[in-house]
């Protein structure tokens, strides 16, 4: 079933294009928006959450158009939204905060509201923290409270903007378990720049870049983008290929096969990096400007953290200008 339908959606901030004619249909389950910073993920989610009006194109949530005044209320009745910076009132207790948001969500009957607050507290496993002030909650608990307020009133569409940022691995695992449970019966749309999130809980992944959708498919298909382009070799490759040394001391290369390279199974991250990389190359060739390579820089730390140091062969490391002109280089 289609929950969200987006047609040719566009948004500009001054000279910057945040969304460039985005087309998407989203249904039940967990869909991940993946992309580097500034890809337009947040802008898209804020448009869906009715926090931002798009410039062009159309948007429907359960058939309702947020651009029409009286339909916007209908959209708001059907969504739960956790912004990137929720700004939960620090002096409210968890219970107070949920009670207050429940009033804003039109649950006016006191008894029904309290039952709903208890229900979401239980769902995010914060029942025993109801009396704790928001400022005294840990980062992970605060994020779960943010999720709980989004779940008030059982919305059909749950929008989560970068919900796993700043969580330690244990909290992140708990959060993923909660989100995947929610996604069993509802539509969950979340943005992330972590390929692990996508692999762990998304049935579908949409990769965005420069305000456009550059990939739409399953996580397996995203890994498949790198099929036949991931190599393990005992010696570092020649040329400009991106490579890093893995835990076994072998060189893992993305792109053309290096001398003595053996084909390796691609990961979601390999697919994602190659996708951004090829986009950077084509975009750079088309417009001849450097900033595209700058965007690719944003993903390098992820690769480094997961697999070791990222280095470039052939070019001198500090020469940033050289890197932008050399195709296939990820820094």
């Amino acid at each position: 079933m289609t929950t969200v339908s987006i047609r040719r959606l566009g948004k500009r901030y001054g000279a910057t294009t945040a969304l460039d004619a985005v087309d998407l249909e989203i249904g039940t389950g967990v869909t991940g928006l993946l992309g580097p910073n500034g890809a337009g993920k947040s802008t898209l989610l804020r448009c869906l959450a009715t926090a931002l009006a798009p410039d062009t194109g159309s948007l429907r949530v359960h058939g309702f158009d947020p651009a029409v005044q009286h339909e916007r209320v209908e959209v708001r009745r059907r969504i739960g939204y956790l912004p990137q910076n929720p700004g939960l009132y620090p002096n409210f207790t968890a219970y107070d905060l949920l009670d207050y948001v429940a009033v804003l969500k039109e649950i006016t009957d006191t008894g029904a509201r309290r039952a709903e607050v208890r229900r979401v507290l239980e769902e995010v496993e914060l029942t025993d923290r109801a009396k704790t002030k928001v400022r005294k909650l840990s980062g992970g608990m605060r994020q779960r409270l943010g999720l709980a307020q989004a779940l008030l009133g059982e919305p059909e569409l749950v929008i989560l903007d970068e919900p796993t940022v700043g969580l330690d691995p244990e909290q992140r695992m708990l959060f993923r378990a909660l989100v995947s449970r929610i996604g069993e019966h509802r539509t969950v749309l979340l943005s992330t720049h972590q390929t692990e999130d996508v692999g762990a809980l998304c049935e579908r992944v949409v990769v965005m870049r420069g305000g456009r959708v550059i990939f739409d498919g399953s996580p397996r298909e995203l890994a498949g983008v790198a099929e036949g382009q991931v190599w393990l070799s005992a010696e570092p490759p020649q040329g400009n290929a991106a490579y890093w040394r893995n835990a076994d001391g072998l060189y893992r290369t993305l792109g053309a096969r290096p001398a003595g390279g053996e084909a390796a199974r691609p990961s979601i991250e390999d697919g994602y990096l190659l996708l951004l990389d090829s986009e950077a190359t084509t975009a750079g060739a088309a417009t001849g400007v450097a900033p595209t390579a700058g965007a690719a820089t944003g993903v390098a730390p992820t690769a480094g953290a997961a697999t070791g140091a990222v280095t470039t062969a052939g070019t001198a490391a500090p020469d940033a200008a050289g890197a932008t002109t050399a195709p296939g280089v990820i820094r």
Binding site: R77, G87, V103, K105
Partner: protein
């Protein structure tokens, strides 16, 4: 742990409530120590769950303060009271700041050497601004850190803004009114600021149907200050009658009515949740 357990007959009688107090205490003392017997007692799940919910809410639900009780007694429904009293701008810090500014104005009046006119003028000029400052904080990013959540809730929109504005105006007017009573020689001008305040508030809300609320408040507040200072130049005598005299008051009330009409006609444009 003990080898001895409650016999079934005793347990049945406990269940039916047929035991005397001494026996009940003995049975319960045993059950506290013995999980085995504890789980042999018949449990009414619905009853337990219901009571658990009641206890949980009693412990965790927001406390009802004197302000809430007063509003409830005035006939406001409970959810509306929650909405009003949770208004972020209605914080002690803000109320204290308002009270401090007014207190300073009163002090200035008390200690001023050249009579009450100049200090009274200071009070009259400052007092109408405070409710407007309060209104500008009733909604949106600077005052409400949770604005993205509150602004995209179904109850967001004109009704919420107006309710919050009413709440903060009410608090500001009450504070300023109290300060006016403290003014020395509090004559007619102790109330002269009310109509300008009303005009500035309705005007701000009307203007906010086209521009962001803080901008609207800043514009009108600035215009008021510039206007008053421009007209009077802080001269004593003509100032108060000119700016706060009957003719001026009449024009304030007419303008406020006009602003109210604009506000009512354009109220649907209030959507603080959606930025452009």
């Amino acid at each position: 742990m003990t080898d001895w357990h409650l016999d079934q007959d005793l347990l049945d009688r406990y269940d039916r409530g047929d035991l005397d107090t001494g026996r009940v205490m003995a049975v319960e003392a045993h059950m506290l120590a013995c999980p085995h017997c504890r789980f042999r007692v018949h449990v009414d799940v619905a009853w337990t769950t219901g009571n658990w919910a009641i206890v949980y809410d009693a412990v965790h639900a927001p406390r009802v303060g004197p302000a809430q009780r007063l509003l409830t007694r005035l006939g406001l429904p409970e959810h509306r009271v929650r909405l009003l009293t949770a208004t972020p701008a209605l914080r002690w810090s803000w109320l204290l700041a308002t009270a401090a500014v007014l207190g300073l104005a009163v002090l200035a009046a008390v200690f001023s050497r050249d009579g009450t006119d100049r200090a009274g003028l200071l009070f009259l000029v400052v007092a109408p601004i405070l409710p407007v400052v309060a209104v500008s904080g009733a909604y949106g990013p600077p005052a409400d850190p949770m604005y993205e959540i509150t602004g995209t809730a179904p109850a967001a929109g004109p009704a919420l803004v107006l309710w919050r504005a009413t709440a903060v105006i009410g608090a500001a007017v009450a504070t300023a009114g109290f300060a006016a009573l403290l003014l020395p020689a509090a004559g007619w001008y102790a109330a002269a600021w009310l109509l300008p305040a009303l005009l500035l508030c309705t005007g701000t809300l009307a203007l906010a149907t086209s521009v962001p609320l803080p901008l609207a408040a800043g514009t009108l507040g600035g215009l008021w200050l510039a206007g008053v200072l421009g007209v009077t130049g802080f001269r004593h005598e003509p100032a108060v009658p000119l700016v706060f005299g009957p003719a001026a008051q009449l024009s304030y009330s007419l303008a406020a009515a006009l602003a109210a009409i604009v506000l009512i006609r354009r109220r649907r444009r209030f959507d603080p949740g959606e930025s452009r």
